[in-house]
Protein backbone atom coordinates (compact mmCIF):
# COMPACT_ATOMS: atom_id res chain seq x y z
CA UNK A 1 0.00 0.00 0.00
CA UNK A 2 2.98 2.25 0.42
CA UNK A 3 4.24 1.54 -3.04
CA UNK A 4 4.01 5.11 -4.26
CA UNK A 5 4.27 8.53 -2.73
CA UNK A 6 0.73 9.38 -3.72
CA UNK A 7 -0.79 6.68 -1.53
CA UNK A 8 1.00 7.83 1.57
CA UNK A 9 -0.93 9.86 4.11
CA UNK A 10 -0.63 13.59 3.59
CA UNK A 11 -1.71 16.84 5.13
CA UNK A 12 -5.03 16.64 3.37
CA UNK A 13 -7.54 14.72 5.40
CA UNK A 14 -10.27 12.77 3.63
CA UNK A 15 -12.89 15.17 2.34
CA UNK A 16 -15.83 13.04 3.24
CA UNK A 17 -14.69 12.51 6.80
CA UNK A 18 -17.59 13.01 9.14
CA UNK A 19 -15.76 13.99 12.27
CA UNK A 20 -16.90 16.28 15.06
CA UNK A 21 -17.54 19.89 14.15
CA UNK A 22 -14.42 21.30 15.73
CA UNK A 23 -12.38 19.15 13.45
CA UNK A 24 -13.47 20.92 10.32
CA UNK A 25 -10.94 23.66 10.85
CA UNK A 26 -8.22 21.08 10.83
CA UNK A 27 -8.92 20.54 7.20
CA UNK A 28 -6.66 23.01 5.51
CA UNK A 29 -8.84 23.29 2.45
CA UNK A 30 -11.85 24.72 4.20
CA UNK A 31 -13.06 27.38 6.56
CA UNK A 32 -11.31 30.21 8.29
CA UNK A 33 -7.87 28.74 7.91
CA UNK A 34 -8.12 28.65 4.19
CA UNK A 35 -9.56 32.18 4.04
CA UNK A 36 -6.85 33.48 6.32
CA UNK A 37 -4.30 32.19 3.89
CA UNK A 38 -5.90 34.05 1.06
CA UNK A 39 -7.61 31.13 -0.60
CA UNK A 40 -4.45 29.22 -0.95
CA UNK A 41 -6.34 26.27 -2.33
CA UNK A 42 -7.99 27.91 -5.24
CA UNK A 43 -8.93 25.74 -8.21
CA UNK A 44 -6.26 25.04 -10.72
CA UNK A 45 -7.97 27.12 -13.39
CA UNK A 46 -7.39 30.16 -11.17
CA UNK A 47 -3.76 29.38 -10.82
CA UNK A 48 -2.23 32.83 -10.74
CA UNK A 49 0.74 32.60 -13.04
CA UNK A 50 -1.09 30.87 -15.82
CA UNK A 51 -4.16 33.08 -15.73
CA UNK A 52 -2.19 36.26 -15.94
CA UNK A 53 -0.29 35.14 -18.99
CA UNK A 54 -3.24 33.83 -20.93
CA UNK A 55 -5.66 36.61 -20.14
CA UNK A 56 -4.32 39.80 -18.59
CA UNK A 57 -7.85 41.10 -18.10
CA UNK A 58 -8.66 38.26 -15.74
CA UNK A 59 -6.03 39.43 -13.33
CA UNK A 60 -8.32 42.19 -12.12
CA UNK A 61 -10.59 39.48 -10.66
CA UNK A 62 -7.82 38.07 -8.56
CA UNK A 63 -7.66 38.66 -4.87
CA UNK A 64 -4.67 40.58 -3.52
CA UNK A 65 -3.35 37.40 -2.01
CA UNK A 66 -3.60 35.65 -5.32
CA UNK A 67 -1.74 38.47 -6.97
CA UNK A 68 0.99 38.18 -4.42
CA UNK A 69 1.12 34.46 -5.10
CA UNK A 70 1.31 35.17 -8.81
CA UNK A 71 4.20 37.50 -8.21
CA UNK A 72 5.91 34.71 -6.38
CA UNK A 73 5.58 32.55 -9.47
CA UNK A 74 3.17 29.84 -10.56
CA UNK A 75 4.52 26.38 -9.93
CA UNK A 76 6.88 27.54 -7.22
CA UNK A 77 3.94 29.18 -5.49
CA UNK A 78 2.02 25.93 -5.43
CA UNK A 79 4.89 24.06 -3.96
CA UNK A 80 5.30 26.63 -1.25
CA UNK A 81 1.61 26.60 -0.44
CA UNK A 82 1.59 22.85 -0.04
CA UNK A 83 4.46 23.06 2.39
CA UNK A 84 2.85 25.89 4.31
CA UNK A 85 -0.38 24.01 4.55
CA UNK A 86 1.36 20.93 5.84
CA UNK A 87 2.75 23.01 8.66
CA UNK A 88 -0.61 24.54 9.46
CA UNK A 89 -2.34 21.23 9.74
CA UNK A 90 -0.98 21.23 13.27
CA UNK A 91 -2.73 24.50 14.08
CA UNK A 92 -6.34 25.20 14.75
CA UNK A 93 -7.28 28.85 14.40
CA UNK A 94 -3.86 30.00 15.40
CA UNK A 95 -3.66 27.78 18.47
CA UNK A 96 -1.25 24.95 18.40
CA UNK A 97 -3.06 21.63 18.33
CA UNK A 98 -1.26 18.77 19.91
CA UNK A 99 -0.65 15.77 17.76
CA UNK A 100 -2.32 13.90 20.56
CA UNK A 101 -5.60 15.67 19.91
CA UNK A 102 -5.22 15.17 16.21
CA UNK A 103 -4.77 11.49 16.73
CA UNK A 104 -7.62 11.30 19.18
CA UNK A 105 -9.87 13.22 16.84
CA UNK A 106 -8.95 11.10 13.87
CA UNK A 107 -10.21 8.00 15.61
CA UNK A 108 -10.27 7.56 19.38
CA UNK A 109 -10.33 3.81 19.16
CA UNK A 110 -7.32 3.64 16.92
CA UNK A 111 -5.56 6.26 18.94
CA UNK A 112 -5.67 3.85 21.81
CA UNK A 113 -4.39 1.20 19.54
CA UNK A 114 -1.30 3.24 18.84
CA UNK A 115 0.08 1.33 15.95
CA UNK A 116 -3.01 1.77 13.83
CA UNK A 117 -3.09 5.48 14.42
CA UNK A 118 0.13 5.90 12.54
CA UNK A 119 -1.72 5.44 9.29
CA UNK A 120 -3.41 8.78 9.98
CA UNK A 121 -2.34 12.13 8.81
CA UNK A 122 -0.65 14.11 11.58
CA UNK A 123 2.73 12.53 11.31
CA UNK A 124 2.80 12.93 7.60
CA UNK A 125 1.55 16.48 7.93
CA UNK A 126 4.38 17.30 10.26
CA UNK A 127 7.07 16.38 7.83
CA UNK A 128 8.60 18.49 5.11
CA UNK A 129 7.56 15.83 2.65
CA UNK A 130 4.96 18.19 1.18
CA UNK A 131 7.72 20.38 -0.19
CA UNK A 132 7.96 18.36 -3.33
CA UNK A 133 4.30 17.56 -3.59
CA UNK A 134 2.28 19.05 -6.40
CA UNK A 135 -1.39 19.89 -6.32
CA UNK A 136 -2.10 16.82 -8.38
CA UNK A 137 -0.46 14.53 -5.89
CA UNK A 138 -2.43 16.16 -3.10
CA UNK A 139 -5.70 15.50 -4.87
CA UNK A 140 -4.96 11.83 -5.39
CA UNK A 141 -3.70 11.36 -1.87
CA UNK A 142 -6.95 12.65 -0.42
CA UNK A 143 -8.61 9.61 -1.97
CA UNK A 144 -6.19 7.15 -0.46
CA UNK A 145 -7.37 4.09 1.45
CA UNK A 146 -8.55 5.00 4.96
CA UNK A 147 -6.26 4.22 7.82
CA UNK A 148 -8.47 1.53 9.26
CA UNK A 149 -8.04 -0.50 6.10
CA UNK A 150 -4.32 -0.37 6.62
CA UNK A 151 -4.77 -1.21 10.26
CA UNK A 152 -6.98 -4.20 9.77
CA UNK A 153 -4.55 -5.69 7.31
CA UNK A 154 -1.71 -5.20 9.73
CA UNK A 155 0.66 -8.12 9.62
CA UNK A 156 3.78 -8.95 11.51
CA UNK A 157 5.91 -7.13 8.96
CA UNK A 158 3.73 -4.05 8.91
CA UNK A 159 5.46 -2.21 11.75
CA UNK A 160 8.72 -2.38 9.89
CA UNK A 161 7.15 -0.92 6.78
CA UNK A 162 5.44 1.84 8.70
CA UNK A 163 8.67 2.54 10.44
CA UNK A 164 10.41 2.94 7.11
CA UNK A 165 7.73 5.36 5.93
CA UNK A 166 7.89 7.24 9.19
CA UNK A 167 11.62 7.64 9.00
CA UNK A 168 11.20 9.24 5.60
CA UNK A 169 8.54 11.65 6.67
CA UNK A 170 9.29 12.61 10.22
CA UNK A 171 10.05 16.29 10.06
CA UNK A 172 10.79 19.37 12.09
CA UNK A 173 7.26 19.65 13.49
CA UNK A 174 7.07 16.06 14.62
CA UNK A 175 5.41 16.03 17.98
CA UNK A 176 6.48 14.17 21.06
CA UNK A 177 3.65 11.77 20.61
CA UNK A 178 4.88 10.84 17.20
CA UNK A 179 8.13 9.94 18.86
CA UNK A 180 6.31 7.82 21.38
CA UNK A 181 4.52 5.95 18.68
CA UNK A 182 7.72 5.84 16.71
CA UNK A 183 9.35 4.04 19.60
CA UNK A 184 6.37 1.79 19.96
CA UNK A 185 6.76 0.77 16.37
CA UNK A 186 10.47 0.28 16.81
CA UNK A 187 9.60 -2.10 19.56
CA UNK A 188 6.88 -3.70 17.50
CA UNK A 189 9.22 -4.29 14.62
CA UNK A 190 11.19 -6.65 16.78
CA UNK A 191 8.20 -8.66 17.86
CA UNK A 192 8.68 -12.31 17.05
CA UNK A 193 5.58 -14.26 16.15
CA UNK A 194 5.26 -17.99 16.48
CA UNK A 195 5.03 -19.74 13.16
CA UNK A 196 3.48 -23.04 14.11
CA UNK A 197 2.40 -24.67 17.31
CA UNK A 198 4.47 -27.83 17.08
CA UNK A 199 2.96 -29.18 20.26
CA UNK A 200 -0.57 -28.94 18.95
CA UNK A 201 0.23 -30.24 15.49
CA UNK A 202 2.21 -33.31 16.51
CA UNK A 203 1.48 -33.89 20.19
CA UNK A 204 2.90 -37.41 20.23
CA UNK A 205 6.35 -36.32 19.12
CA UNK A 206 6.25 -33.38 21.46
CA UNK A 207 5.22 -35.53 24.39
CA UNK A 208 7.97 -38.02 23.58
CA UNK A 209 10.51 -35.23 23.74
CA UNK A 210 8.83 -33.94 26.86
CA UNK A 211 9.16 -37.42 28.34
CA UNK A 212 12.86 -37.41 27.59
CA UNK A 213 13.13 -34.04 29.28
CA UNK A 214 11.27 -35.35 32.30
CA UNK A 215 13.73 -38.23 32.51
CA UNK A 216 16.67 -35.84 32.31
CA UNK A 217 15.24 -33.60 34.98
CA UNK A 218 14.83 -36.55 37.31
CA UNK A 219 17.88 -38.62 36.39
CA UNK A 220 20.02 -37.43 39.26
CA UNK A 221 22.27 -34.90 37.53
CA UNK A 222 22.26 -31.72 39.57
CA UNK A 223 19.89 -29.07 38.32
CA UNK A 224 22.60 -26.36 37.95
CA UNK A 225 24.69 -28.72 35.86
CA UNK A 226 21.75 -29.45 33.59
CA UNK A 227 21.23 -25.72 33.13
CA UNK A 228 24.92 -25.31 32.35
CA UNK A 229 24.68 -28.04 29.74
CA UNK A 230 21.68 -26.31 28.18
CA UNK A 231 23.41 -22.96 28.02
CA UNK A 232 26.69 -24.33 26.72
CA UNK A 233 25.11 -26.60 24.12
CA UNK A 234 23.01 -23.70 22.94
CA UNK A 235 26.07 -21.49 22.67
CA UNK A 236 27.86 -24.05 20.59
CA UNK A 237 24.84 -24.19 18.32
CA UNK A 238 24.82 -20.40 18.08
CA UNK A 239 21.47 -19.84 19.65
CA UNK A 240 20.87 -16.16 19.25
CA UNK A 241 18.32 -15.63 21.96
CA UNK A 242 20.59 -17.19 24.47
CA UNK A 243 20.70 -14.31 26.90
CA UNK A 244 16.94 -14.30 27.20
CA UNK A 245 16.96 -18.05 27.48
CA UNK A 246 19.60 -17.89 30.17
CA UNK A 247 17.74 -15.13 31.94
CA UNK A 248 14.78 -17.41 32.35
CA UNK A 249 17.03 -20.13 33.68
CA UNK A 250 18.52 -17.70 36.12
CA UNK A 251 15.16 -16.56 37.35
CA UNK A 252 14.19 -20.14 37.81
CA UNK A 253 17.40 -20.77 39.66
CA UNK A 254 16.89 -17.93 42.10
CA UNK A 255 14.66 -20.12 44.15
CA UNK A 256 17.78 -22.10 44.92
CA UNK A 257 20.49 -19.68 45.97
CA UNK A 258 23.75 -20.20 44.19
CA UNK A 259 22.30 -22.23 41.39
CA UNK A 260 21.77 -19.32 39.04
CA UNK A 261 25.07 -17.55 39.36
CA UNK A 262 27.30 -19.85 37.30
CA UNK A 263 24.70 -20.11 34.57
CA UNK A 264 24.36 -16.38 34.38
CA UNK A 265 28.10 -15.85 34.33
CA UNK A 266 28.51 -18.41 31.60
CA UNK A 267 25.76 -16.85 29.55
CA UNK A 268 27.30 -13.41 29.80
CA UNK A 269 30.83 -14.50 29.03
CA UNK A 270 31.49 -12.93 25.66
CA UNK A 271 34.55 -15.06 25.05
CA UNK A 272 32.37 -18.12 25.16
CA UNK A 273 30.13 -16.56 22.56
CA UNK A 274 33.18 -15.93 20.42
CA UNK A 275 34.22 -19.52 20.77
CA UNK A 276 30.71 -20.67 20.07
CA UNK A 277 30.77 -18.89 16.74
CA UNK A 278 33.79 -20.94 15.70
CA UNK A 279 33.13 -23.98 13.49
CA UNK A 280 30.83 -26.51 15.04
CA UNK A 281 32.24 -29.12 17.33
CA UNK A 282 31.87 -32.70 16.08
Amino acid sequence: MYSSEATMPTAAMPRDASGPAQLRSLYPRHGRDARARGRAFMPRSHEPGRTREVSPAASSDMTPAAERAAAAGGAAGIVRRAATCAGQAHHDHGRRVSAERLFAAASPRRFRHGLCAVGRDPLAAAGPAADDRTGRARASSSRRAPAHLLAENMSATEPARILAGLRRRRGRDAHDLSLTIFRKICKGARIMTTRLNAKAIAPDAYNALRGLQNYIDACGIEKPLIELIKVRASQINRLRLLHRHAHGRCREGRRKPGAAAPVERLARDRSLHARASAPRSP
Partner: protein, 48 residues
Protein backbone atom coordinates in the same frame (compact mmCIF):
# COMPACT_ATOMS: atom_id res chain seq x y z
CA UNK B 1 34.52 -36.32 20.12
CA UNK B 2 38.29 -36.70 20.67
CA UNK B 3 39.53 -39.44 23.02
CA UNK B 4 41.15 -37.05 25.48
CA UNK B 5 37.90 -35.16 25.97
CA UNK B 6 36.02 -38.41 26.44
CA UNK B 7 38.55 -39.70 28.92
CA UNK B 8 38.36 -36.49 30.88
CA UNK B 9 34.59 -36.81 31.02
CA UNK B 10 34.89 -40.44 32.12
CA UNK B 11 36.87 -39.35 35.15
CA UNK B 12 34.13 -36.95 36.20
CA UNK B 13 31.01 -38.98 35.48
CA UNK B 14 29.79 -42.49 36.00
CA UNK B 15 28.46 -44.53 33.07
CA UNK B 16 24.87 -43.61 33.73
CA UNK B 17 25.72 -39.97 34.28
CA UNK B 18 27.57 -39.84 30.99
CA UNK B 19 24.58 -41.23 29.15
CA UNK B 20 22.29 -38.82 30.97
CA UNK B 21 24.49 -35.87 30.06
CA UNK B 22 24.49 -36.97 26.45
CA UNK B 23 20.71 -37.14 26.52
CA UNK B 24 20.53 -33.74 28.16
CA UNK B 25 22.62 -32.28 25.34
CA UNK B 26 20.51 -34.06 22.78
CA UNK B 27 17.30 -32.82 24.37
CA UNK B 28 18.25 -29.16 24.56
CA UNK B 29 19.42 -29.27 20.97
CA UNK B 30 16.12 -30.80 19.96
CA UNK B 31 14.19 -28.13 21.84
CA UNK B 32 16.31 -25.43 20.27
CA UNK B 33 15.79 -26.81 16.80
CA UNK B 34 12.06 -26.83 17.38
CA UNK B 35 12.00 -23.39 18.97
CA UNK B 36 14.13 -21.73 16.31
CA UNK B 37 12.32 -23.27 13.39
CA UNK B 38 8.83 -22.42 14.60
CA UNK B 39 9.86 -19.29 16.49
CA UNK B 40 8.41 -20.51 19.71
CA UNK B 41 8.14 -17.86 22.40
CA UNK B 42 10.22 -18.30 25.53
CA UNK B 43 8.21 -18.41 28.71
CA UNK B 44 9.93 -15.24 29.88
CA UNK B 45 8.48 -13.29 26.98
CA UNK B 46 5.02 -14.59 27.73
CA UNK B 47 5.30 -13.49 31.32
CA UNK B 48 5.00 -17.03 32.52
Amino acid sequence: MPDEVYDEARQQFSDKELVDVAYAIFAINAWNRLAITFRMQPLVAQGG
